[in-house]
């Protein structure tokens, strides 16, 4: 991977963690995973996904496995979806965002049920809506930035 890309993903990770502390309950790293699957070699999303998986598992309060399910489902949705849609289409990202928002609501509730926890549903619902709305917008922004990296093949 080029130094510019390494710097980009490191910066993206740091900013994502910061944003996650500002808006809790929303995954700001997920759009990066999709972008990495679209734009980078297959090893890059694997490594990034692994690092982000540990970040999310460590910072979250759910039992281990929630992050695995989360990113696993996201990757599965992407692979399933890009057979049906153009992978870089904003509409596809919008649908993916809705799926991710629904997934957040489902996953938190299932994990809370399994762990016998009580979770405020309205808060999880709001987080799901935020996740669904933020995901495509963030993907679009990151996509543009990534394409304007100095040593990117697509850079103007």
């Amino acid at each position: 991977m080029r130094p510019g890309n390494i710097a980009f993903w490191a910066f993206f990770t740091a900013v994502g963690v910061w944003l996650q502390s500002v808006i809790p309950g929303v995954d700001f790293l997920a759009p990066g995973l999709i972008l990495a699957m679209q734009e980078e070699k297959w090893t890059v999303p694997v490594w990034l996904g692994l690092v982000w998986l540990f970040i999310q598992e460590g910072t979250g309060s759910l039992a281990f496995g929630a992050g695995l399910l989360w990113y696993g489902t996201l990757a599965g949705l992407y692979f399933f979806g890009h057979w049906l849609f153009e992978a870089r289409n904003f509409l596809f990202m919008f649908i993916l965002g809705i799926c991710l928002g629904s997934m957040h609501f489902l996953l938190i509730n299932v994990m809370a049920l399994l762990q016998d926890w009580t979770i405020p549903l309205e808060r999880v619902l709001m987080e799901s809506v935020f996740q669904a709305l933020i995901f495509p917008v963030e993907w679009g922004l990151v996509y543009l930035i990534h394409h304007h990296l100095p040593d990117d093949a697509h850079a103007a």
Partner: protein, 368 residues
């Protein structure tokens, strides 16, 4: 003389006026440069003033934090709040603080603010820890009202909501405005720490218990520093013991687990469990206290592997583990042994770490 005065005075006045007019309205050489310089100085002074005000505010907060006297035999350690809930998997009401197992923090370490109890440690890593707030719906802590000594269980109801005091019989005396303090029955918090103030008392249908709401004494969104309180002196976990600590951190103890007195370590409450000198594993005379409960195989299959019985003699453990183990039912000894090892001995063996982990896991399902 009079003449001179009448002649010179108007001349002086005219001179002053002309000079003033000249310098105020006509002679502007260097004024712009001076203005720019003064503006820069003003900006710098504003920055400095802002920084000093922030420092003063921090000093005031820290002073209040330090003014909180921990109960006797407990020590206090300050920590900064790094973040509140973080990430998509943050389902509970939590804080992230900048102290972890290397600072001696263990799971269930009480966390307080100058106003009262904030919560307790839920998960740990080497240099950070997650705090479960008392406002979380999964937090249940036994309390007693300060004036009437009425006992109950204080349960969180979520963010921006009042707490609920459960299981207070209909006839039990309690008043609005009364402070609820920790009862210490859960063997995590010291007895008598303020937790909440009763705001309303009522009935709920044909329930046998009163419907009591209380408001927490701290403002979660305004907290920046908290204090961790330890029984004795916190013992930083050595690097070799960190994997075990991190492993146990992956299994957050359920908040309600604290309600089972036998499921938690006795080191918080049992005086015998406290080494006389709260040093870092200072060699305490190994009192030959009989350890009847320690070797008993626990009912669960996970606990018989713990070697607490051999530990006191082998490692010269302080009297903490054995003495504490006599006070509680069978599942507890392995917990105490592990905790005493991790706390009292700087060099916890891998077996100790395993022990601690198992005991915490065993305590988990009870409280939820």
């Amino acid at each position: 003389m009079e003449f001179a005065r009448w002649v010179l005075a108007p001349g002086k006045l005219v001179h002053d006026q002309v000079t003033s007019f000249w310098y105020r309205y006509l002679y502007f050489v260097g004024i712009r440069q001076q203005n720019d310089q003064l503006r820069q100085e003003l900006d710098a002074a504003k920055d400095e003033l802002s920084g000093l005000r922030e420092n003063a505010s921090e000093v005031e907060r820290l002073r209040r934090l330090l003014s909180m006297t921990p109960p006797s035999e407990w020590t206090r350690q300050g920590a900064r709040i790094i973040s509140h809930r973080l990430g998509p998997n943050a389902a509970l009401e939590t804080f992230l603080i900048d102290k972890g197992s290397t600072s001696g923090v263990i799971v269930n370490t009480p966390v307080v603010s100058p106003e009262g109890v904030v919560g307790r440690v839920l998960r740990i890593s080497p240099s950070a820890a997650t705090i479960l707030l008392i406002t979380d719906p999964n937090s249940r802590i036994p309390v007693v009202s300060q004036k009437n000594r009425t006992q109950g269980i204080l349960k969180g109801e979520g963010p921006n909501r009042e707490l609920v005091l459960q299981y207070v019989p209909q006839g039990a005396p309690i008043e609005e405005g009364e402070i609820l303090v920790t009862s210490g029955l859960e063997e995590i918090f010291p007895k008598g720490l303020p937790m909440a103030r009763v705001t309303s008392i009522g009935r709920s249908g044909s329930s046998l218990f009163q419907l009591i709401y209380a408001t927490p004494l701290f403002a979660p969104l305004q907290l920046e520093e908290v204090a961790l309180i330890f029984k004795g002196t916190p013992v930083p976990q050595p690097v070799s013991a960190l994997p075990a600590a991190a492993d146990s951190a992956m299994t957050p103890v359920s908040p309600g687990a604290s309600l089972a007195p036998g499921s938690k370590s006795g080191k918080h409450k049992t005086p015998a469990a406290i080494p006389p000198s709260p040093g870092q594993g200072a060699p305490v005379a190994p009192q030959p206290v009989p350890t009847p409960a320690a070797p008993q195989p626990a009912p669960t299959p996970a606990q018989p592997a713990s070697p607490p019985a051999a530990k006191p003699g082998k490692h010269k453990a302080p009297a903490a583990a054995p003495a504490a183990s006599t006070a509680t039912p069978a599942p507890a000894p392995s917990v105490r042994s592990g905790d005493a090892a991790s706390r009292g001995h700087g060099s916890a063996t891998p077996a100790d770490g395993t022990d601690t982990k198992k005991s915490r896991k065993s305590a988990r399902p009870e409280g939820q």
